[in-house]
């Protein structure tokens, strides 16, 4: 493995820098799509939605809508100039439902009016009659009816059934894992401004400008070169703005084309939560064999997820769940069946971790159940199953784990958190405390980095050096708060050896860098950092050759460092000076840069290959106290050790680790999605859907990055992706609560807690554990 000493030192990358927009954020000067001034005659859009979960539209009467004050245009599926689809993979997401509605909240029509308020009020006047059809509203019902959005998948390695039959111990069980709303603070929004000659400029709050561009072009019946999509920043994304923004962008563009006026569509929060996809909820039924140490001998798992009414990204989400059923554990004989259930609910989509967290939740429940049965510390069972370094190191999908640091992380964290002593003290406390029970858990994370779909793993960048020495950077990645612009700006500043202030990043724009991938799969800085580095190096090389000739020094001696260009002969000049000279010498100072991830390949049919360039690791120890009268709980302490390779920006990485952890903890505790019997989501606003608040951050939190552990793969300055992996650190909180629940029943009893662990779910689990005993 590489060590820090072997790597060249960096001066700007690898060091804490504030977020490039921090000063704008805090003063209200950072512009989001809703803040971009539009022409005074711009119109505002509201969408009309289905009131039923499943039905045929018998009649639509929008005359009162059209007659409402301020209304300028009303459109339905009949008014589309191009394709009626915004589905990212399959064409099964209509922009407007035609005759069939498949979830309560599906878009049926759009109104453009002179104000946001007028449009929303007008929508309420629609008269739509439905013939209601039976609706499938949950996973078990979908399984019973074989209702799937895409075919099921099966992965088998070894001889799981035979080994199960001969295992020393065998256990069957199940866990349900709830969904999650993204709750980005900025809801979905798009604005379209018609340009000359049929072109369209679209401002979209999107993680995937290229896909929005392509889908808008299709919806307009135009070419991609007619459509420019821009995104300076999002007010949060978390995967919720990967495939979902296209619907809203398409509607604005269609109405802009129709009216010739600028159009904005900003979703009200309730509409956003009703209309847009969420994290897939899952159920996992398992059959596991294991030995006396708790080591798994064979595992058969049925994973089933709620995909909603359409495929959206459910195929790759569920593939990633399969690819994370192992988490950090070697599963020699394994069988995973994955069902992608079609339900009459909103189409679920990408969400930080993209199925990986659900896969991990399944295996962690299996391990916990084994530990309870064996009356062993769950940490010992986890350790007994960790991937080996030299052997026991091939994943179920046939990828060798070559960068395993989970032992080191678990060792360090177990010691630094004082896990063993605390477990003893907790046992002592619990023995004397009939009402309040404490629990503790250490859970690991191993998360594969790269899009499973190999062709997504590419990126482009564009770098300009101006004659005043200032540098403008553009790349295909989008900024959603994760600090991508900051990190890639650091890369370019590092390459040119200039202060960070000398480099600016402009808004992501499909007319600057084309055919980009979504900023997703944690890949933003890996891909765009490398692409920007390549662009910078191209310009540097041209300048180096020019300077070598002009100043008569060997090219190899020329260095871009310390804010100037050092010629190696004791002389140096400012980058601006060299730029002026190079311009006069007719040297191009603009370059694209391109990167594709090496080594990866994936066979979707057999679910084998090397889908991931590398793995990111981490672990968390959480301790909780649970009130056995009410099911309420509180996080008392968390210790985290997380692997970001050689950090590009420690403050930003810590921010991702902490934020991911709390988002993961929220997913598994207070965040509950609740549909009524009619298939209406009733938790569609922050008043009913409860993400963590400042109080929910643990009283005692000790968060650290794994030090002196550069990526073994050649990533940008040997860093590691950090967007998604920390979310799964939150699983430790769920298992700490599980541990507290287990402490309410005699040893040997499983802890039947399911996610989300709301106080009600915890109280139910406590009762169930006592019943099991």
């Amino acid at each position: 493995m590489n060590t820090i000493a072997e790597l060249p030192p960096t001066t700007i990358a690898g060091h804490t820098q504030r977020h490039e927009s921090a000063h704008l954020h805090v003063s209200g000067c950072a512009n989001y799509v809703d803040d971009i001034p539009l022409p005074a005659d711009a119109l505002h859009v509201a969408l009309g939605m289905s009131r039923v979960a499943h039905g045929r539209i018998k009649s639509i009467d929008l005359s009162a809508v059209a007659a409402a004050p301020g209304v300028v245009a009303v459109i339905t599926a009949r008014d589309l100039p191009g394709d009626n689809n915004y589905g990212p993979i399959l064409a099964d997401d209509p922009i407007f439902a035609e005759s069939l509605v498949e979830y309560a909240g599906q878009s049926i029509f759009a109104v453009a009016a002179t104000s946001h308020d007028a449009a929303r009020r007008a929508v309420k006047r629609a008269k739509i009659e439905y013939e209601e059809l039976p609706a499938i509203l949950d996973i078990r019902s979908a399984l019973e009816k074989n209702s799937f959005v895409i075919p099921s998948q099966k992965l088998v390695r070894g001889h799981p059934q035979a080994v199960l039959a001969s295992s020393p111990h065998r256990l069957q069980g199940s866990i349900t894992i709830g969904g999650q709303d993204h709750f980005y603070l900025e809801g979905h929004i798009a604005a379209a401004v018609p340009q000359e000659d049929g072109a369209m400029l679209v401002y979209s709050s999107t993680q995937h400008p290229s896909e929005v561009q392509h889908l808008v072009a299709h919806a307009l019946g135009k070419h991609s070169h007619h459509v420019t999509v821009q995104c300076r920043r999002m007010g949060g994304g978390f995967g919720g703005k990967e495939s979902q923004p296209a619907l809203f962008a398409c509607v604005t563009a269609i109405l802009a084309a129709k009216t010739g006026r600028a159009i904005k569509l900003r979703l009200d929060r309730d509409d956003d939560m009703t209309m847009t996809g969420k994290r897939h909820d899952f159920i996992a039924d398992y059959d596991v064999g294991y030995d006396d140490s708790g080591r798994i001998t064979a595992l058969a798992v049925m994973l089933a997820s709620r995909c909603g009414y359409s495929a959206d990204l459910s195929g790759p989400v569920n593939d990633r769940a399969i690819c994370h059923i192992d988490n950090a554990y070697f599963l020699e004989h394994i069988e995973v069946v994955s069902h992608r259930c079609k339900t009459n609910t909103v189409s679920n989509t990408a969400f930080r971790g993209f199925g990986g967290p659900q896969g991990m939740m399944a295996i962690e429940a299996v391990i916990d159940d084994i530990a309870r049965k064996l009356q062993r510390d769950p940490l010992d069972v986890r350790r007994a199953n960790f991937y080996g370094i030299e052997d026991r190191n091939v994943t179920p999908y046939q990828m060798r784990v070559e960068d395993n640091v989970i032992h080191a992380i678990a060792d360090q964290l177990e010691a630094s958190s004082d896990y063993r002593t605390r477990r003893q003290r907790i046992a002592t406390f619990n023995a004397a405390s009939p009402l309040i029970k404490r629990g503790i858990a250490l859970t690991p994370v191993k998360f594969g980095i790269s899009f499973n779909a190999t062709h997504y793993n590419q990126a482009g960048a564009l770098v300009h050096l101006y004659t005043d020495g200032s540098i403008l950077l553009n790349h295909g990645g989008t900024e959603m708060g994760q600090g991508l612009y900051t990190k890639v700006t650091q890369v370019v500043a590092e390459e040119f050896g200039v202060p960070l202030t000398q480099v600016r990043t402009s808004a992501t724009d499909t007319s600057k860098v084309p055919n980009t991938s979504a900023t997703a799969a944690s890949s933003g800085s890996d891909l765009n950092g490398k692409a920007a580095q390549a662009a910078a190096r191209t310009i540097k090389e041209r300048l180096t050759n020019f300077a070598s000739e002009k100043y008569g020094v060997p090219a190899a001696d020329i260095k871009f460092a310390g804010g100037s260009v050092q010629l190696g002969n004791g002389k140096s000049l400012a980058l601006a000076e060299l730029a002026v000279a190079a311009h006069a010498g007719r040297i191009s100072m603009s370059s694209t840069g391109y990167y594709r991830t090496p080594k990866i390949h994936w066979d979707r049919a057999t679910l084998t290959g090397r889908p991931f360039f590398y793995f990111a690791y981490g672990a968390a120890v959480a301790e909780v106290a649970v009130d056995t009268l009410t099911g309420e709980y509180r996080m008392l302490r968390v210790d985290i050790l997380h692997d970001v390779g050689r950090s590009l920006n420690p403050a930003i990485d810590i921010g991702q680790v902490e934020g991911g952890f709390l988002q993961g903890a929220g997913w598994l505790t207070s965040e509950e999605l609740w549909w009524n019997a009619r298939g209406e989501l009733k938790t569609h606003a922050p008043s009913t859907y409860k993400i963590p608040t400042a109080r929910d951050w643990p009283l005692d939190a000790r968060v650290h990055l794994l030090e002196r552990s550069p990526n073994v793969e050649d990533t940008i300055y040997r860093s590691k992706a950090v967007g998604e992996p920390p979310l799964m650190l939150g699983i430790a909180v769920f298992h700490a609560i599980r541990d507290a629940v287990a402490n309410c029943a005699p040893p040997g009893t499983r802890s039947p807690l399911h996610a989300p662990a709301t106080p009600e779910a915890v109280l139910r689990a406590i009762r169930a554990a006592k019943d099991l005993a």
């Binding site: 000063h23 308020d117 603070l185 994760q482 009268l629 309420e632 400042a694």
Partner: protein, 490 residues
Amino acid sequence: MSNPGHAICFILDGKTIEVNDIPPTTTLLQYLRESLGRSGTKEGCAEGDCGACTVVVGEPANGSIAYRAVNSCIRFLPTLDGKEVVTVESLRAAAGDLHPVQQAMVDCHGSQCGFCTPGFVMSLFGLYLNQPAATRDEVIDALAGNLCRCTGYRPIVDAGCKMNDYPPPAHWSRDDAQSAARRERLQSIQRKDSLALGTPAGFLAPQTLAELASAYAAAPGSLLLAGSTDIGLWVTKQMRELPPIIYLGEVAELKTIRETGGMLEIGAAVRLTEAYDAIVKHYPMLAELGNRFASPPIRNAGTLCGNLANGSPIGDSMPVLIALGASVELRCGDRTRTLPLEKLYLGYQKKDLAAGEFLTAVRIPLPQPGCTVASYKIAKRYDQDISAVCGGYALTISDGMVTAARIAYGGMAAIPQRAARTETALIGQPWNEATVAAAMQQIAADYTPLSDMRASAAYRLQVAANLLQRFYLEHSGAAIASRIEMVAAD
């Protein structure tokens, strides 16, 4: 300058803004963003639950200016008349220097996507002005109404702790906030006559109780408005057309808190913040309830009597006030009457109020010797959540016997309701485990709760009974930990 009768006047960045001809339900957020083009303040939810829209409002108070963080998304513009509005754009000095609150957020890496940030900055700014040395817990309290989805809040709370370490800024220091110029400017827009908008009045802000009573008696179809923390949502979420509004917030007599005849009397325009401060002074055990009631910006706008008059079955104030035997003062024209609070509620959204009749105050008995009081709130989240179940308890134990018991629950019925059978099972019995166990059995006879997104009926019944057990354990000298708040990691 005195205020013209038919224009809303408020101060923003040292300038007087006069607003005519807008619907009275225009929110402050809409006005800032759409009319003034000040886009720094964000809409995250339009229901006062995320805090992205937080601004600070200043108003005259005993010769100085009281500044409070409020949610601009559900605040109707006419209620800002005579006040000063401070938004995130206001804080930077002319030279562009960041305010200590802003600088601390930058230095602590407190923003990621930045969308919630203006709201956090303004909540922290409200704290900065009011509490020069806020503790970490107080910072967390102040941020209970602000959601962030990117950070783990730790850097934001760090910023709240660090903001007082910077030298006072020239602009919006605590001294500057109370400068003579600011006070005079604010004083200059205080009106002598009531604000009346629209013809006929779409919005009236009477200044005296008599004016209010006669206006409401004359137009009993009007809507009484106080903090707009619920009515705001009728507009932003339900898009209702509201009847003419009569605003209580300027009626001097309704802004009083006084102790009289063994009662704590809290006027109908007293905000929840001040109301709970007064209640907690007498009933310190209700501090948690006061802290967990909505969020600081909501408590800085909403009123206690508004909570009572609204009469939601899940309102948090009613259970314990019913248990304490509180009563409400009602007025209709010149007539007044007093009604036990529990008698106000006739059925779901049905109250014993005649046309033109309204609450002027709530009267809460002061603590009685021997009477033990508690209120417990159960929700999915500790801060700013609507209760699944909220219980209020007032029991008198004398010589080991229960001599009196008043228990009420919210979230268990269509109205906040007494637990009559449970009370009966306690009264006259020895205060012991067996009595409590028997009383717990009666909860299911007292209530038939609903299942909804907050909790199932079964959970509500179980937890309502279990809370009685908690009450017993906390008031019987048992030496065991009964609350998770009593526990820390080793």
